[in-house]
C-alpha cells in the first residue's frame, strides 16, 4: 500500500495578498503537507490580486518539498473565466486540477487532475476521465464512504489517485450571483471586494439564532468544519490515497501536524482530535456526509490508530 | 335547502348555517369514499405508505372538519368535530371553496400555498403525496361526486363553481 499523502486545497476565501504570501511561506517551511493546490477557484474577479505572486509562492513551496498543483475555476461563464481556464490548461511547469468541463476541452492527451467540483460520483465516470488522461480525482464532499470505497478500488486498478476532503468547511453550493455583494446591497460588478472582510466566510444565522452557513462571494459553505480524524484509519484501509485539508483562517500548521501524525500512525485519532479541539476554532465539527447522513451531523466513529 | 338571503351567492357558507347533525352526513361520505376507491384505484399506488396516514381536511368556514384515512380496503372518510379531532398525522386547511377548487383540478396547490389560501401542518410528505395522487385522477373528483347525486348534484356543483370563481383566492 502506498504512503497516504496530506494535501492542502486552494484557499477559497479572498485573503489579502500579504496574508496569503505569509500563509504559504509558513506552509512551505513548517507544515508536513505533501501537495499544495494553488489558484483562484471561486471568483475570477479576485484573480488579478494574486496572479503576480504565484510563481514565487510555488517555488517557495517546491523548495519546501511540496508538490504544487494549480486548480481551475469552478464556474466558467464570462470571457475572462474562459481565458483563465484555457491559460491554466496550457500551463506547462505544474500539474493542473480541472474544476469545470470547460477545462477538459483542450486538455487532450495531457495528464491532469479532476477537482471536487467535477462530480465524480461513480466508477463509470472515474473510468471515463482516467481513460482521457486524468491521473487523480478529488471526490465531491457530499459523497458517502460506501461509494468512496468502491471508487477507491476502481482508482487503484486504474492507477489513479483518490482524494477526499478531511478538514475544513464543506463547499455546499456555487452561484452566478455574489451573495457577499448582495448582503452589502451591491452588485457583483460593483462588489468592491467586500468579501475580503470575512477571511473565514460571512456567517448566515437562522431566524432562531442558529449558526447555519457561511458565504464566500458566489460560494456557500457549511458553518461546521468537516473533520474526519477518526475516520482516517478506515479511509487508508479502503484505499483513499490523498487527504485534503481546506485552508481556514486558523492555525493550519497545527491542523496539518495533527492529521499528518494520524496518517503516519504516530498518534491515535483521539489524540489528534483533542489537539484540534484545543485550538478552539469556534465552529462545530461534522462528518455526516461521510457517514451518509445530514452533512451537519457529528457521528461518533469507532476511532482506532493506524499501526 | 335555503341559505340566508344575504349569503345566497356564497354557497360555501351553507354549512355554517345548517346545524346538521354529523351522523346524517356519514353514510354519504362513506359512499363517496367507496366510489373513489372503486373507480380510481391508481390513487393508492401514488400514496405509497400514506394509505395508512390520517388526514384532517379542514374547510375553515364549515362547522365541522373531515377525516380521511385512505386505506384501499377500508377507506375511512367521515365528518368530525374540531373540538374532538381523531388522531391524525397531517392537516390541510382552507376555505371550502378553495378546497373544492383543489379537488376539482381547477387550481394549482402550490399557488394556493404561496398565497396562503391553503395551510398545511403535520406530515408534509403525506400532504404532498395526497395532492399528487389526487392530481393524477383523470377528470375531476368533484365532478365524480356530483354525478353520484344525479341532476341535483350537477346543479349544485355548477353553482359552487360559479361561487368559487366569484371569490377567487387572494391575488398577489
Amino acid at each position: 500500500m502506498m504512503t497516504p499523502r496530506l494535501t492542502l486545497g486552494p484557499v477559497a476565501y479572498h485573503w489579502p495578498a500579504d496574508k496569503k504570501i505569509d500563509f504559504y511561506a509558513k506552509i512551505a517551511d513548517e507544515a508536513p503537507i505533501d501537495t499544495v493546490y494553488l489558484g483562484e477557484v471561486i471568483c475570477s474577479k479576485r484573480a488579478p490580486f494574486f496572479d503576480q505572486h504565484y510563481s514565487e509562492v510555488a517555488e517557495r513551496l517546491i523548495r519546501g518539498g511540496k508538490t504544487v498543483v494549480f486548480s481551475s475555476l469552478a464556474e466558467v461563464m464570462l470571457k475572462r473565466e474562459r481565458k483563465a481556464t484555457k491559460a491554466l490548461s496550457e500551463l506547462e511547469d505544474y500539474e493542473i486540477e480541472i474544476n469545470n468541463a470547460a477545462g477538459l476541452l483542450t486538455i487532450d492527451g495531457r495528464a491532469h487532475r479532476i477537482g471536487p467540483f467535477m462530480n465524480v460520483y461513480n466508477s463509470q465516470t472515474l473510468g471515463y476521465f482516467a481513460h482521457r488522461g486524468a491521473n487523480h480525482v478529488c471526490l465531491p464532499v457530499e459523497l458517502p464512504s460506501s461509494s468512496a470505497a468502491l471508487l477507491a478500488r476502481t482508482a487503484s486498478e486504474l492507477g489513479v489517485g483518490i482524494e477526499v476532503q478531511v478538514f475544513g468547511r464543506a463547499s455546499l453550493a456555487v452561484s452566478a450571483r455574489c451573495y457577499h455583494a448582495r448582503a452589502h446591497g451591491r452588485t457583483k460588478d460593483n462588489c468592491q471586494f467586500v468579501c475580503e472582510e470575512d477571511p473565514d466566510g460571512m456567517p448566515l444565522t437562522t431566524q432562531d439564532n442558529q449558526p447555519f452557513l457561511r458565504i464566500n462571494g458566489i460560494q456557500t459553505l457549511s458553518h461546521s468544519y468537516v473533520n474526519l480524524t477518526d475516520e482516517i484509519p478506515a479511509m487508508v484501509d479502503m484505499g483513499i490515497t490523498d487527504f485534503r485539508l481546506m485552508p481556514q483562517d486558523i492555525d493550519m500548521i497545527e491542523i496539518a501536524k495533527a492529521f499528518a501524525a494520524v496518517l503516519h500512525g504516530e498518534i491515535a485519532p483521539q489524540t489528534a482530535r483533542e489537539r484540534i479541539n484545543a485550538l478552539e476554532i469556534g465552529a462545530p465539527f461534522s462528518n455526516g456526509f461521510w457517514h451518509g447522513q445530514a452533512g451537519h451531523r457529528r457521528i461518533e466513529a469507532m476511532g482506532r490508530s493506524l499501526g | 335547502m335555503t341559505a340566508a338571503p344575504a349569503r345566497a351567492s356564497r354557497m360555501a357558507t351553507l354549512g355554517a348555517v345548517l346545524p346538521m347533525p354529523l351522523f346524517v352526513l356519514q353514510p354519504v361520505l362513506r359512499r363517496i369514499a367507496r366510489r373513489i376507491t372503486r373507480e380510481h384505484a391508481e390513487v393508492f399506488a401514488r400514496l405509497g405508505p400514506h394509505t395508512q396516514t390520517g388526514f384532517v381536511i379542514d374547510p375553515v368556514d364549515f362547522p365541522f372538519a373531515l377525516f380521511l384515512r385512505p386505506e384501499p380496503q377500508a377507506p375511512d372518510f367521515r365528518a368530525v368535530r374540531r373540538a374532538h379531532l381523531p388522531a391524525h398525522e397531517a392537516r390541510i386547511s382552507g376555505s371550502f371553496l378553495t378546497l373544492l377548487r383543489l379537488i376539482d383540478a381547477d387550481v394549482d396547490g402550490d399557488a394556493l400555498f404561496f398565497s396562503r389560501d391553503l395551510v398545511i401542518s403535520g406530515n408534509t410528505e403525506a400532504v404532498v403525496s395526497l395532492r399528487n395522487a389526487l392530481d393524477d385522477v383523470e377528470g375531476s373528483i368533484a365532478a365524480d361526486v356530483a354525478e353520484m347525486f344525479g341532476p341535483l348534484g350537477r346543479i349544485a356543483l355548477r353553482k359552487l363553481r360559479q361561487a368559487a370563481h366569484a371569490s377567487p383566492p387572494t391575488e398577489g
Binding site: 456567517p203 452557513l213 | 404561496f114 408534509t124 403525496s129 399528487n132
Partner: protein, 332 residues
C-alpha cells in the same frame, strides 16, 4: 427563425396528457426513483404508466424526453442503467442526462436515441458544451438559468448543437448539479437522491401570532408574517441574518418565479431552439394554464404577431415574477 419547440413538464400521467392536449411539442418526465431530479412522493411514472404515456404522446405527435438527470453514487449505477434501457424499450425520444458515466453508458448502448445535456450538468460556456458534444454526441444543451440574452447568442454562435432555455417556473440561481445544501440539512442529496427540500423533512410551524415558520430538518429556513406570501421551502429561498442584515433577509434570492413571456421573440432571435417550462411537481391546473398560454404565444410569434399574454402571475411562487438573469446581469 428557429422552430422553438415547447418543452413541458409532466409529473403524472394525467398531467402528461394535459400537457399534450394543451399543445406541448415535447414533454419531459421521469421514473419513480432517484434517477431523476424530481424524485418527490406521489410523483412520476411507473414503467407501465410511461409505456401508455409514450403511446398517447406519440399518437398526438408529441415527443417524450426521459429525465435521467441525477448523479448515480457508486454502488447504485445499475438503477440508472435499467432506467435508460427501459426508456429505450418504451420508445422515448431523448434522454436528459447530467452524469458523465450515464452519458457514456447511453452513448455506447443506445446510440440511436438523442442525448440532451441537463441543466444539472451546469455547462455554461461554449468550451464545456463543445466538450460534451464531442465526447457524447450531445444534440441539445439545456442552459443554466444564469445567462443573459447576448450571452446566449454568443454561445449559440460557438457551439454545434441546439439550445434549450427555461422560460417559466421556479427561478434558481445556484449552479445546478453543484448544490449540496439539502444534503447538509437533511441527509438526502439533490444530486444522488433527486430531491430538493424533501417534503418529509419540511415542517410548517405556526405560532399564536399566525407567523409561519418553515423548518428543514433542524434548521428554520424562513418565517412569514400573517398574510405574507410564502415560497418554496428551499434553503436558497430562505431568510437569515448576518452582521449587516438583522431581522431576516433573503440572503440568496427572493421567492420569485421566472417568466420570460415578453422575451420570447428575443430568445428565438438569439437562436434558442426549445423553450422549457419548469414544474413537474406542479398540478394539472398549472400545466394546462401555462402550456396553453405559451402555446398561444409561440404560435403568435411564429405567425409574425405580437402575443397578448394572459397574466400568469398567480401561478408563480411568492406570486411575483421576474425576467431573471436573461434581461441584464445586474442581479449577479
Amino acid at each position: 427563425m428557429t422552430v422553438a419547440e415547447l418543452i413541458c413538464p409532466a409529473g403524472t400521467p394525467a398531467s402528461l396528457r394535459t400537457a399534450v392536449d394543451a399543445g406541448a411539442d415535447a414533454v419531459y418526465c421521469g421514473f419513480q426513483n432517484a434517477t431523476n431530479a424530481r424524485n418527490f412522493p406521489g410523483l412520476n411514472f411507473s414503467p407501465d404508466e410511461l409505456a401508455a404515456s409514450v403511446r398517447y404522446a406519440h399518437e398526438q405527435g408529441t415527443k417524450v424526453l426521459l429525465a435521467l438527470n441525477t448523479y448515480p453514487p457508486d454502488g447504485k449505477f445499475d438503477l440508472w442503467k435499467e432506467a435508460a434501457d427501459l426508456g429505450a424499450r418504451l420508445g422515448i425520444d431523448a434522454y436528459i442526462v447530467a452524469d458523465v458515466g450515464v452519458a457514456e453508458y447511453i452513448r455506447q448502448n443506445h446510440p440511436g436515441i438523442r442525448l440532451h445535456l441537463s441543466v444539472q450538468a451546469a455547462a455554461s460556456s461554449p468550451e464545456a458544451i463543445r466538450y460534451y458534444v464531442r465526447e457524447f454526441a450531445v444534440k441539445r444543451v439545456v442552459l443554466p438559468r444564469i445567462l443573459t440574452i447576448p450571452e446566449i447568442r454568443e454561445i449559440k454562435s460557438e457551439i454545434p448543437c441546439e439550445i434549450e432555455t427555461f422560460i417559466f417556473g421556479n427561478h434558481g440561481l445556484m449552479v445546478e448539479g453543484r448544490c449540496s445544501l439539502t444534503n447538509y440539512a437533511t441527509g438526502l442529496s439533490t444530486n444522488m437522491d433527486g430531491v430538493c427540500s424533501p417534503a418529509a423533512e419540511v415542517h410548517y410551524v405556526r405560532d399564536d401570532q399566525e407567523n409561519l415558520s418553515t423548518r428543514l430538518g433542524e434548521f428554520t429556513i424562513d418565517r412569514f408574517g400573517a398574510g405574507e406570501k410564502a415560497g418554496y421551502p428551499t434553503i436558497c429561498k430562505g431568510r437569515y441574518t448576518t452582521a449587516q442584515r438583522q431581522g431576516g433577509y433573503y440572503a440568496f434570492e427572493e421567492p420569485i418565479s421566472l417568466n420570460l413571456a415578453r422575451l420570447l421573440p428575443d430568445l428565438i432571435d438569439a437562436g434558442v431552439n426549445a423553450f422549457k417550462i419548469e414544474g413537474r411537481q406542479r398540478s394539472r391546473a398549472y400545466v394546462r394554464e401555462v402550456v396553453s398560454s405559451f402555446r398561444y404565444a409561440v404560435d403568435q410569434i411564429r405567425a409574425g404577431n405580437k402575443p397578448d399574454l394572459a397574466d400568469l402571475v398567480a401561478l408563480t411562487e411568492g406570486q411575483k415574477e421576474t425576467q431573471g438573469a436573461f434581461r441584464t446581469k445586474k442581479w449577479r
